[in-house]
């Protein structure tokens, strides 16, 4: 894996939620009520024993605390930083019912997992060799969680990844004030330190390596190919310079450099979490005027309310009920977004056309689905571009499993980890029962 440049754009960001020191962690851990059958556990997609790991922080058993976290979520270090805890574990803390500030679970998880990373504790070794082999397509959180669990069972594992950088969106897409790319990559190395997780990068499946060949090489497959490129508006002028897909732009900002020094007005189109991230990132990079364009109003935004609240504090502007129609430019560069106003039912209001000045435009209106890539695998169902898999990750084709964004359509890292982990258990059952 190539080293990341030190002067990449994301390096200017500081932690939005700073780490707890020893005293803060101890005091916070002692506040936890240690609920039985705790709502925070039920709110966690990976079902981490949260009261259990917090009690271990309180007693000073930090290594045991980290083990409890990683047992359920081997990507617990990054999830501690990137999980939207406000709507998951912290949102369900019983203290919310008491009008008392809920336990800062994400920060405590970060405290324990950072300790384990600093100590270099690995916790698990690969199981005895079973002689069976699993191929995983994509090197994102779902595949990494799946591969680690498969190695604990003793199966041989090979990950095929199109990019040179491993970690998927965890490395290329997380807002840098939550986690910079090098931490995600450090996590990949930590996961791989169990040994025996072979990786082949620069491999596009199925163009470079077909499904038939993969099935021949391996006893089972796991598909964790995530989502495709940013969706486009298909509007006039979209080819102009200065117009980018948000996911693509964020990846370049995180792994390399983007130059926003001459940008006067940046416009982000969309209302989801990628759009809000992009707004906050542009503001953080020093763009003084950043405007969100959204078709609805605040109450209907699909992005998290707590993220949007932070964006507003940081100076985000917004135009509600507006539909981009196209782009105007000068000398091949974008200068404005041509828009139309929408009514309450998101229908265009006649005669409301106007322009909004912009010299940088990020499109955050979704990503393509990659279900079409599995068309060569008979029996694997695809619906609306998503691969269809059951709760254990099994597709309609024996021995082929799938998880993460390519199945759920794009959720959190922690959802992908849970799906990858559970698929590994199902694959192990399949192989143990003599499958393929």
């Amino acid at each position: 894996m190539p080293a990341l440049p030190a002067d990449r754009s994301e390096a200017v960001f500081a932690d939005f939620k700073p780490a707890l020191d020893d005293n803060q962690a101890r005091v916070e851990a002692h506040r936890c009520l240690y609920c039985h059958d705790a709502p925070c556990i039920r709110a966690c997609p990976t079902s981490i024993d949260i009261p259990g790991f917090i009690r271990k922080i309180a007693t000073g058993n930090l290594t045991g605390s980290a083990r409890t976290i990683f047992e359920s979520n081997v990507l617990g270090m990054s999830c501690a930083r990137v999980c939207p805890v406000e709507v998951l574990c912290v949102g369900d803390c019983v203290y919310n019912h008491m009008g008392v500030p809920p336990i800062q679970i994400g920060k405590l998880q970060r405290y324990a997992t950072d300790h384990a990373y600093r100590q270099g504790t690995r916790f698990w070794q690969a199981g005895p060799d079973t002689g069976r082999s699993v191929g995983l397509v994509g090197a994102g959180p779902a595949s990494l969680a799946c591969a680690h669990r498969l190695r604990r069972f003793g199966h041989a594992v090979t990950i095929y990844e199109a990019r040179e950088v491993l970690g998927g969106l965890n490395s290329t897409g997380i807002a840098p004030y939550k986690m910079p790319a090098d931490r995600a990559i450090e996590e990949v190395d930590w996961v791989r330190s169990i040994g025996g997780i072979e990786v082949q990068t620069g491999v596009n499946v199925p163009t470079d390596l077909g499904w038939a060949e993969l099935e021949q090489r391996h006893d089972a497959l796991f598909i964790g190919i995530g989502l495709g490129p940013d969706s486009r508006l298909q509007a006039r002028g979209e080819h102009l310079q200065g117009i980018h897909g948000a996911v693509d732009w964020i990846e370049r900002m995180k792994l390399g450099k983007v130059d926003v020094s001459k940008v006067q007005t940046a416009v982000v189109i969309g209302g989801g979490n990628t759009a809000i991230d992009a707004v906050r990132e542009l503001l953080g990079l020093g763009v003084s005027y950043v405007k969100l364009l959204y078709r609805g109003v605040e109450a209907g935004m699909p992005g998290y309310a707590h993220e949007w609240a932070s964006a507003k504090k940081e100076g985000a502007r917004v135009v509600w009920r507006v539909q981009p129609l196209g782009f105007e430019g000068h000398g091949g560069r974008v200068t404005a977004v041509r828009c139309m106003r929408l009514d309450r039912n998101k229908q265009p209001i006649e005669g409301s056309e106007h322009t909004i000045a912009a010299d940088l435009v990020l499109l955050a209106i979704g990503q393509g689905k990659l279900g079409g890539l599995v068309s060569g695998l008979d029996g694997v169902q695809v619906e609306g571009g998503r691969i269809v898999a059951d709760a254990a990750g099994a597709t309609g084709r024996p021995g082929v499993y799938a998880g993460g964004d390519c199945v759920n359509g794009g959720q959190e890292v922690v959802n992908a980890v849970a799906m990858g982990r559970d698929a590994a258990v199902a694959i192990h059952s399949f192989l143990s029962a003599g499958g393929r």
Partner: protein, 428 residues
């Protein structure tokens, strides 16, 4: 406004809050500052043949992030020249004539007791406290708890002190005994004007897990110390109450042991103390805590209609009795307020694992999305455990049940066959 003036063993002070004989009363400069802060009295750090101390001297228990819940020390009596102590006692007494200034004493021979009592009274002491309690260091030299643990020696030295003293004599008792009552009676027999208790409990506060040495560490070794602080309060309360309810015991009591605030002090007063002594909380938080102690006690007395302290001293003693006199037919059950419940399930797991398996998981969510556990009142034994673990004030209450059975104690049952209600929670 309630009057906090108290007289304990003939020693009067403007309020019942005295500093116990300990590091906070080591010097005149300290006691002057303490009286400035509002303390009603002070028992001077024990005088005797000045000793040499070790370092370190203190150890503490940390619980849930808070240090000092339990505390111990291996410091001995005064290490300052007696002349300096007496000079400062005279100075303090001159500047604070109405505050109680008691001098704690610990020497060996009859002659020594005679001399040090005379010098203390010459300096202006309002009373004398005989330190028969220290469980570390001095007891190895035949003093402190070595005296307090032997009723005959206790009585003899007390009678010497009474022979020489013109001021009231308090005997400070050690808790390092099986039953406190014979020791209180020995002091009474020796002629003491009152007792103060408890002194510290013989203890090892902990072991340092890096050096594997018990704490507090003195050059790679340690020794047993005197345990005190909030954690010892229940033991002290029992010993005070055990003396207060004994019909043979008639002396006033100065209560000591884990008092941190006015509520704690009030408990000692209600169980028979006419003054209280504080050390550890002052060591941890400073003399300034007394302002709240005075205000809190006054406020409570005003709210409850008490005008003078003697109206409440010993007020709770009649309700303290032996187990065999408790009404076995009195029945309470737990009630959970669904509107207050936050769904932590702590009562449920405590009842299942630590009590009588009568609180069960709720099956439905409230409008607020909370799963409220359900009490099986037919099996609830009314043990209080659920109420103890509940983090929400007023969420779990213990409600009395009218079961139709007349009150009946165990003594009445075995004595003349009084009828007892059927047992609950034994799961047949």
């Amino acid at each position: 406004m309630a009057d906090l003036t108290t007289t304990c063993a003939g020693i009067t002070s403007p309020n019942p809050f005295w500093l116990a004989s300990a590091p906070p009363t080591n010097s005149g400069e300290q006691v002057l500052r303490a009286f400035d802060a509002g303390w009603g009295g002070a028992v001077w750090k024990t005088l005797g043949q000045p000793i040499q101390n070790v370092s370190s001297r203190f150890g503490a228990i940390q619980y849930r992030g808070v240090g000092g819940v339990g505390f111990n020390n291996i410091e001995l009596i005064t290490d300052r020249p007696l002349e300096a102590n007496f000079r400062e006692i005279a100075e303090v007494k001159k500047r604070w004539p109405k505050n109680a200034l008691v001098v704690s004493l610990m020497v060996e021979s009859r002659e020594e007791w005679k001399e040090i009592i005379a010098r203390s009274e010459d300096a202006g002491a309002d009373g004398l406290e005989l330190n028969f309690g220290c469980p570390h260091g001095m007891c190895e030299r035949g003093m402190g708890s070595a005296v307090g643990q032997e009723p005959v020696v206790n009585e003899r030295i007390t009678s010497w002190a009474k022979e020489f003293a013109t001021k009231p004599v308090l005997v400070k008792l050690t808790p390092n005994v099986g039953d406190i009552v014979p020791h209180g009676l020995a002091a009474q027999k020796g002629g003491a004007d009152g007792v103060s208790l408890i002194n510290t409990i013989k203890s090892i506060i902990g072991v340092d897990l890096d050096s594997l040495t018990p704490r507090p560490m003195v050059g790679g070794r340690s020794t047993n110390g005197g345990y005190c602080g909030a954690a010892v309060r229940p033991i002290a309360l029992h010993m005070v109450a055990a003396l207060a309810r004994d019909p043979r015991f008639r002396l006033p009591i100065s209560g000591i042991g884990g008092i941190t605030d006015w509520r704690d002090a009030l408990e000692f007063l209600l169980l028979g103390s006419s003054s209280v002594q504080v050390c550890t909380e002052v060591m941890l938080r400073g003399y300034r805590i007394v302002e709240d102690m005075i205000e809190g006690l006054e406020g409570w007395m005003d709210a409850r209609g008490f005008e003078r302290l003697d109206q409440l001293v010993g007020r709770s003693v009649p309700a303290f009795t032996e187990w065999g006199e408790l009404d076995l037919n009195y029945e309470i059950v737990a009630k959970i307020d669904a509107d207050k419940c936050i769904g932590c399930q702590l009562c449920m797991v405590a009842c299942h694992d630590g009590a009588h398996q009568c609180i069960h998981p709720g099956t439905e969510l409230t409008a607020a999305g909370v799963r409220v556990p359900v009490v099986d009142e037919a099996e609830c034994v009314g043990c209080n455990l659920c109420q103890i673990v509940c983090p929400v004030q007023g969420c779990i209450t213990m409600a009395q049940v009218d079961n139709g059975f007349a009150p009946a104690t165990w003594n009445e049952h075995v004595g003349h066959g009084a009828t007892l209600r059927p047992k609950k929670g034994s799961h047949g």
